[in-house]
Symmetry: C2
Subunit: 643 residues, 2 copies
Amino acid sequence: MDYKHFKRKIYLEDKPRAQAREEILEAFRLTPEKEEISTITALGRVTAEPIFARVSMPHYHASAMDGIAVVAESTYSAHEQNPLRLKRGGEFCYVDTGNAIPSPFNAVIMIEHVDVIDEETIEIIEPATPWQHIRPIGEDVVQEEMLFPQGHILRPADLGVLLAGQQTVIPVAKKPVVTIIPTGNELVEPGAELAPGKIIEFNGSVFAGFIKEWGGEPRLHPIVKDEPENIKAVLLEAAETSDIIVINAGSSAGSKDYTVHIIGEIGEVFTHGVAARPGKPVILGKINGKIVVGVPGYPVSAYLALEWFVRPLVCKYLQIPEPKRQTVNVKLGRRIVSSMGAEDFVRMNIGYVNGQFVANPLTRAAGVTMSYVRADGMLIVPANIIGYEQGDTAEVELLRPLEEIKNAIVFCGSHDLTIDLLSSQLKKTRTDMKIVSSHVGSMAGIMAIRKGEAHVAGIHLLDPATKEYNLSYVNKLLAGQDVILYPFLKRKQGWILPKGNPLGIESAADIARVKANYVNRQKGAGTRILLDLLLEEGNLSPEDIIGYDREMFSHLAVAAEVNGDAHGAGLGIYPAAKAMDLDFVPVADEEYDLLMTRSFYESESGQLLIAMIQSANFKAQVEKIGGYQVVENAEPKCLEVEV
Amino acid sequence: MDYKHFKRKIYLEDKPRAQAREEILEAFRLTPEKEEISTITALGRVTAEPIFARVSMPHYHASAMDGIAVVAESTYSAHEQNPLRLKRGGEFCYVDTGNAIPSPFNAVIMIEHVDVIDEETIEIIEPATPWQHIRPIGEDVVQEEMLFPQGHILRPADLGVLLAGQQTVIPVAKKPVVTIIPTGNELVEPGAELAPGKIIEFNGSVFAGFIKEWGGEPRLHPIVKDEPENIKAVLLEAAETSDIIVINAGSSAGSKDYTVHIIGEIGEVFTHGVAARPGKPVILGKINGKIVVGVPGYPVSAYLALEWFVRPLVCKYLQIPEPKRQTVNVKLGRRIVSSMGAEDFVRMNIGYVNGQFVANPLTRAAGVTMSYVRADGMLIVPANIIGYEQGDTAEVELLRPLEEIKNAIVFCGSHDLTIDLLSSQLKKTRTDMKIVSSHVGSMAGIMAIRKGEAHVAGIHLLDPATKEYNLSYVNKLLAGQDVILYPFLKRKQGWILPKGNPLGIESAADIARVKANYVNRQKGAGTRILLDLLLEEGNLSPEDIIGYDREMFSHLAVAAEVNGDAHGAGLGIYPAAKAMDLDFVPVADEEYDLLMTRSFYESESGQLLIAMIQSANFKAQVEKIGGYQVVENAEPKCLEVEV
């Protein structure tokens, strides 16, 4: 890298997102193209013109019943006291549902009201009225009737009326071709070997998925190296072959940011930067009449920028409205701070606890794809609001069906690998249920139960005074609340160390002595509290431990860090060390219990969860992991409730 | 057809739908199969197993900023009063966002806080803290973390984390193969020539569309003739090659009903008939271990039976929950009568008028596919309820997005062909808006405005006393209401007659004299009121007209009937006759006006509608049809409102 790039300053605009959107829609002047396709392949396609029925359905007078066709006027004398006999052929004929009514008949009598005398004769005791039980021509579809206007997205039954109306080939909107160009020297194709500094190019596949869902035709270009001439050539070619161009990365104000200059050079740039986060450093421009959208490299920024600016273009091309997400009002479990002057898109977890929707923000780091994947909804903080207080009600756009959110068991507190197993098991038994877990640590888990934001919390908190786990904390923090502490697991905590334990670590004192790079857990995590106790017992202080302030949010994250550093050390559960083939020196057998409200414990979901935990199958699976023992015949502990 | 079939009685059960569903789900014991597919093709597929990350993302310590990497501990002396110079190489290196942090560096300083002295030297005035601006290993995805449990439907961003976790090939649930067998001698393939009694086989394509949407793999079998041996052979073969079998028609209690007997003969029948309408005569059974669902022939019955019984099987196979539709509470515009002991599925039109959802039932005839296509929602009347009164509130399942319903202009009243044109034009200008029209006749249109169930009503009512159109009716029926009558069209009404007018009809008297088969319109339709006036003027009575009681609901439907009958005659507008190449004898130039509330007239939608009507483009299109003239410089008429 050449330092001189730093001399170039890039100023990002703070253009309102709505304005940028209007401008790009205005600039998108492509005439949508039509294509004629076979109706049976048209599911999900968009009609390009109004479509009219070529024939009526039925296209003849059809019997609506199984029975006989008669001339109504000739049956008027039929009566219970005066049955009327009719002869087959001239006076009646048998018809089934759907049969054409032969001339001169003009009414149908249901077979249930016909007395069959012999092969040629029937008797009736009630007259028919003209046109009874006959489906008139065009009852369903009338010839020349408009079946659909243009801009209609075809659903399964729509194909039926098109075929019924003899429209076997129909004009639909051509799918706009969206070329996706991933750029960056650091990118490698999925599956390729990884070296430090190399990143798997997966955004392109995500973009392709979104564009397909929106009705466009994605074309994913191979990775383009960060060379201006390269990028220029690819952009110019894409402008020839596509309706819309999406170029990924190269739009942060980084040192290799050629994209905006190239677009400006070979086309024009309308917008560089919008007042919305993440996704701010988007580029909107035009090259040879084709709109080009430069989306930022961080995944979440990229997906949002794509939705903000590419989706409207695809919909405009198809002449369909942009889909809107269902929204729901939620109670905010935490304070949310936003910056004035810019919209903030905050990914949220939503739980349905005690009859209300409670939402908490996920990490706001734009590089964390999982925060988008895990999100149940999106809170859009308007530009003129600096945020919300804890407990405020706010409207959230749903990223999952409401039903799925309603049926989820909200698990929080300490991280344990068996929770994933439990979740998988539960989904096998009840496909409509799942466990949504967030790793916030034991203390935060207790608080979530207290605030009614979670159904279950996993906790493992050692009381230094009593050397007992959990109960004293719950008693202190949830005094007077009707909660259940359900004994769940005994599990092994220990030092997680590089393979072969090169530094020979056996204790906290060793870690201090050899100056290992310790990887700690966040405040309130049971494992951190355990470390603090071990330090106290060893007459050590946090200052003695290098990395004491470095916080990770899960056992696996600690193990992953240790895995990358021959001088690393961490504290965590055995399976995390095992998963990454690291050394493990046991420190404590701890009790990992489940805390829940009594109302959840007694609910159908609660009982299902308990039954699952106690099943032989689950126990066997957990113990197979190693370092675990499921508590047999667990006795739920209740707090004393003040009445 | 052989009459002896009538001797066999078929008793349909009235089994509760839920019970039939439970039984069939219980009987569906196929072990779902998995297949390994490339992740980039897995959009919309369902994970067959829990999937874990193979690598962390980032898999190295990555810079979160553009800047310089340093050893934090070596910067502690930096201060505004005491700038610290660092040498490139040993003391710092330049990093871009995403770059790996080379050893021994452990912090990043943003480039904005770096003062570049020369190519080899920089200066800082603030110390760095360890690990600042570094994305730790696994910040996004941690190796061995469960990315998804089994039973997860993959969305675009999900593909991203799978690829990031180096899962380029994943196990997904195989799509269940659903063979669809259309049976019936009356069926012809779409596009084939039609003879009376022949019906286009379109249900199969609709079923295939539904099954595709639900995640199955449809295989549409060619039409099978109604021959027991034929059907038997096809069913047995399908049981070999598919996971689920759907056989269409042959399940009504009609004369050609072999299906239930065949299934019983070569397999077993669990259910024949459920207590739910339409869709009651469904057959549920099993052949050689494969579930077979016999769905009724009428389209709407068939689609419902498919949703009731085939969708749960597909979802069970995929191990996903059945999707649930969004619901909305509506005010019922009409009374809805249902039978005790059976559920009733009533297709509903829903309008959003004056801030509330108002719903009216569409025709309940199971043969009217358009009633399903046009429906905005489905009202499910439980078995133990005999219906609802007009004005009751009921919950309706939505068949369209709520947003689409909210943005629709609800048009009712008299049918006119230009309304479709208007609707198409509107959708072109505003893709998120549309006109939903129901043809109820002028009088019913006025009543809908009075009851707040529609935004606009098209009316053409001739006052016999004044010979004026519309205003006197509105004055009488909407006295005191703040409504606008907007002059819209002058249009030609006349006799619609078979090509060449073989009966030489010129007047109502001619119709009576030649005993033509007259096709009337429904009560309250302006055209029927016109006929009554013509009869009165000709000193004729309804009894003089054959077919006076035969009611059609639109001009096109009248024309379609006349088209099929050399002795036919009807009254209607010129374009309806023209559309079917029929003769037309003008009778009256009538005024077709638009009635709307002032609040709608003044709303954005209302003004948009008016602007569209007055546009030169729309006028030109209407006048091109023939028989029309758009009123120029129309002056909206207001009623006198009592204040």
